[in-house]
């Protein structure tokens, strides 16, 4: 499993770009999330980015998350 920091960063990334609730962006919020929401958020990002939708925070996914990009959310309510 990725280092604790990786999961945290991924959680904030997914929240910043609209895949998770914005409240997750505040790490001190101690946000509790069920596994299926987490998995679904990762799969939605993987689908949007054209990756295999594994639902896992695999190497390919964390690599794409580190690419320079636009700051506007991918999912606009």
């Amino acid at each position: 499993a990725p280092a604790f920091g990786e999961t945290d960063k991924a959680m904030m990334y997914l929240a910043q770009y609209g895949y998770l609730s914005p409240s997750v962006r505040n790490p001190s919020s101690g946000h509790i999330m069920d596994e299926s929401s987490w998995k679904r958020a990762i799969m939605e990002f993987q689908s949007f980015a054209g990756l295999n939708t594994t639902g896992e925070l695999d190497e390919e996914t964390t690599k794409v998350m580190s690419l320079p990009r636009c700051g506007v959310r991918d999912k606009v309510g």
């Binding site: 770009y17 689908s47 980015a49 690419l67 636009c70 700051g71 606009v76």
Partner: protein
Amino acid sequence: FGETRAKRYALQGSRWRVKNLTYKIAKYPSRLNRAEVDAELAKAFSVWSDYTDLTFTQKRTGQVHIEIRFEKGEHGDGDPFDGPGGTLAHAYFPVYGGDAHFDDAEMWSINSRRGTNLFQVAAHEFGHSLGLSHSDVRSALMAPFYRGYDPAFQLDQDDVQGIQALYGRKTQTDIGGGGASVPSVPRATTQQPSAEDPALCADPNIDTIFNSADGATFIFKGEHYWRLTEDGVAAGYPRLISRAWPGLPGNIDAAFTYKNGKTYFFKGSKYWRYNGQKMDGEYPKEISEGFTGIPDNLDAALVWSGNGKIYFYKGSKFWRFDPAQRPPVKGTYPKPLSNWEGIPDNIDAALQYTNGYTYFFKGGSYWRFNDRTFSVDTDNPAFPRSTAYWWLGC
């Protein structure tokens, strides 16, 4: 229903009500020459004005539609930048003001592989300022990820469809010309004067409706055809089908133009293929020969905006034809037309219009289809609407 939506552009939901927009560079990047930044941002705006009637005018002072700033870290909008890499810039949709902010901690560059290419990021952000959300088409400018300097930049077809869904196609020929991208989509000819056709208004039942490869929209009825303009039928119509498409009979059942630029016409058990208005080989041929699995005596056909596949409609059923797969029509078809929620059986015609939406016609009415919900769109006034009023300018 298994008709999965292909990847494509996304509209945020707001757009400018005016087409002549102004912008101001309120805060320049700290490491570039101001005159060069002016030129690069003007080029970035021209990416969008090349395909629409939008115009962008730079102002030095006063109120503008789009304000541009190069900032570092927290810059007053609650969305702080993060230093080199990561987030490069962000912009606000029209309903939120349309402004664009760029991270001044980036090494912005012009016409260079080094650093972060200002033109490409700016053109993307201005897409947001105009109402485009991120596209999941990797090759689209509106995809969220930075793709590096591209000296031969061209707007992707997906971006063109997105911006034209918001602001329509370009109708005025450019006076100044220029602009970073050479349109790969043929420019629309100057706007045709519109006229009302009393016979068509009195009886707006049509045989078929389709777009030609150069983006014009035609209606067929009996031996005649009409060319549509933005708000009605073009003056000087109807004209004889056989005159414009030599060798093609009247009373056509269905027609569509595929992404190979060829237009296919269907009548009874036969079909014809045209390249523009010139027959493209020995036709007619049997539908069973060229479109195996598709029945004769069709009601309508279209290339669906949701996935680019060809759909045929007849009675209460529809077929999906994918030339790229073998067989082109899989065993699970025909399927009930009721899968296209809200669309009636026995339709007369169907069309993917140049605004990217799919429309169905029956009798004197039409329906607009929502690809995301896979059902008839909800709008005010509701569908079905009057074809005569909304399409024929009656």
